[in-house]
């Protein structure tokens, strides 16, 4: 062994590496150590091979996987299905970040004009990436749904979004790409942009990374149209009247402007989710809880109201729910309990008192 490592220190890194519980930095250190001498290398290989010799079967289902593969690759004779299968074949295999199963599926419903309708759903706790038949890539965030006609890309390119998605649109000037989200239409040529339109958000947030998009709000209570420039971030809030179906419109002139626009220097904050990252910039715990519920498929309850206003900054990558909560716990006087899919967050009174004292004494 190298003299600059304590005995057992490398054994710990090797064990952590094999079990998958290692930081990138520690793994780098291990790699350097392995490369440093043939003895180190041989030692590592022995432990690695002992580990590999103990492999037991994991949570894999061969029958389900076989069906999944068949569904994607098998030709079907019935003509009506051909169209659908062609669509299915044009998808890349939907994938899931953070563990779990593949959840995307296709349904064929009789839509208007007897057309087929394709629905891709990314349930809570999973992110799905799909490629449409025109080459456009779509990242679908947890708890989101994308719908489009099976005739997509024949004469027009139109999709309907409920939830959040990042679009990387393949350029085709003859067929503009349209996203319908809530009561807005977002028109794009070749461009990358993020749309967040969860029903419970009661609005649409559009962030343009590059290219150009136009927002068409002509069917909203306060009709508007606007062109977006790269790095522009537009928040549209649905007018109160539009929330209650059937109620008459408020006089548009008296209603407040529904759109707020700002330039953002870093669009990563809004698109990081597609790479499995989660950037938090001064959000309240109440806002974080909504994301946590979608990302980890849990309910979040607050024991005390005051918790909702705690604010946080930071970046999460592949952390599990518990890791996220533990990190929050490190920075704020809170505690949590996870039971049957519900996270209950409470104030850690002892710690809060400590914080308050420290603050008082510091003054």
């Amino acid at each position: 062994m190298q003299p600059n490592y304590l005995p057992g220190q490398m054994d710990d890194l090797i064990a952590r590496f094999l079990s998958g519980d290692i930081t990138p930095e520690d793994q780098q250190e291990l790699e350097n150590w392995v490369d440093a001498s043939p003895e180190n290398r041989a030692y590592f290989i022995q432990l690695r091979d002992a580990w590999m010799a103990t492999a037991a079967t994991g949570p894999y289902n061969a029958d389900a996987a076989w069906e999944e593969m068949r569904q994607i690759s098998a030709p079907v004779a019935v003509k009506r299905w051909k169209q659908v299968l062609k669509m299915a074949a044009s998808f890349t295999l939907p994938f899931v970040l953070g563990g779990g199963v593949v959840f995307s599926w296709l349904t064929l419903k009789k839509g208007e004009g007897g057309q087929g309708l394709v629905t891709v759903t990314s349930p809570k706790g999973a992110t799905t990436k799909i490629e449409l038949s025109d080459g456009t890539e779509v990242w679908l965030n947890a708890g989101s749904k994308l719908e489009y006609a099976s005739s997509f890309n024949t004469s027009a390119r139109e999709v309907k979004l409920e939830g959040e998605a990042f679009f990387k649109v393949r350029t085709d000037s003859r067929k503009p790409f349209t996203v319908k989200a809530s009561d807005l239409k977002i028109l794009a040529l070749g461009t990358s942009f993020n749309v967040k339109a969860y029903p419970e958000d009661r609005g649409v947030v559009t962030t343009l990374v590059d290219g150009a998009v136009r927002i068409d709000g002509s069917s909203t209570a306060n009709p508007f149209k606007m062109m977006l420039k790269p790095h522009q971030h537009v928040v549209y809030k649905k007018a109160a009247s539009a929330l209650q179906a059937g109620k008459s419109h408020i006089d548009p002139a008296s209603a407040p402007a529904p759109v707020e626009s700002k330039d953002v220097s870093n669009t990563d904050v809004y698109t990081a989710w597609k790479d499995g990252n989660w950037i938090v910039t001064g959000q309240t715990l109440e806002e974080l809880a909504v994301t946590m519920e979608r990302r980890f498929n849990v309910n979040v309850d607050f024991k005390e109201e005051e918790l909702k206003n705690y604010r946080f900054n930071g970046t999460f990558r592949q952390e599990t729910l518990e890791q996220v909560l533990n990190i929050l716990k490190l920075t704020a006087p809170l505690d949590y309990r996870i039971e049957e899919g519900t996270v209950t967050i409470s104030v850690d009174k002892v710690l809060k008192e400590k914080y308050a004292n420290a603050l008082r004494n510091g003054k």
């Binding site: 079990s19 793994q27 780098q28 290989i45 002992a50 076989w66 790479d275």
Partner: protein
């Protein structure tokens, strides 16, 4: 993966499909377990194994396997791990740092030993001895090892589950690994 092309092939040598299905179902789970050690993610392991099978299927007719089918599949999966994650559509899924760690992991797991990991898995005696060696571990050491190896729990999770400190988990893990190595060394050579 080019699924359209794959489906074309399926119609061409359709009569071979049952045999291929048998091969798939017989080895799928074990191959995923094998791939998991390389990539440390279940969903990625499954994708790689499925992708490997599609590739095998595409060349099924003119495939002439010199070694055993099992050894061939293991080697194909092992070789496919690094190639698979180098595709753009997979790269775009993980952040830069994570991808680097993944590549480095696969490289470390790929470092040649004689016999190769794929060949060793052919060795039924080794599997038997490995289970025996685990059973010989002291009780707490065995619990820690099993939770890590078979339940894929993290150190903090194991510490919570067993009500012991993370430091104890650490000590027991390195101890388990050392003992397993000592027991299995004659077979690993």
């Amino acid at each position: 993966m080019n699924t359209l092309e794959a489906s074309l092939h399926i119609s061409q040598h359709k009569q071979q499909l049952p045999a291929f299905e048998g091969l798939f179902k017989a080895h799928y789970a074990a191959l995923c377990t094998f791939a998991f050690d390389f990539v440390n993610r279940h969903e990625l392991a499954e994708e790689i194994v499925q992708d490997t099978f599609l590739k095998v299927w595409e060349r099924y007719e003119d495939l002439e396997i010199q070694v055993s089918v099992k050894a061939y599949l293991y080697r194909s999966v092992q070789n496919n791990c690094l190639n698979y994650i180098k595709q753009d559509r997979i790269r775009s899924r993980y952040g830069h740092e994570l991808l680097q760690q993944l590549e480095s992991r696969i490289t470390l797991m790929n470092m040649p030993a004689a016999p190769t990991p794929a060949e060793r898995l052919e060795n039924a005696e080794l599997e038997h001895m490995a289970e025996k060696a685990i059973r010989k571990l002291p009780p707490q050491c065995q619990d820690v090892f099993r939770l890590s190896r078979f339940e894929q729990l993290s150190y903090p999770e194991i510490s919570r589950q067993l009500g012991i400190s993370v430091n104890t988990v650490k000590t027991q893990m390195t101890r388990a690994l050392q003992r397993l190595r000592d027991e299995l060394l004659p077979l690993l050579k």
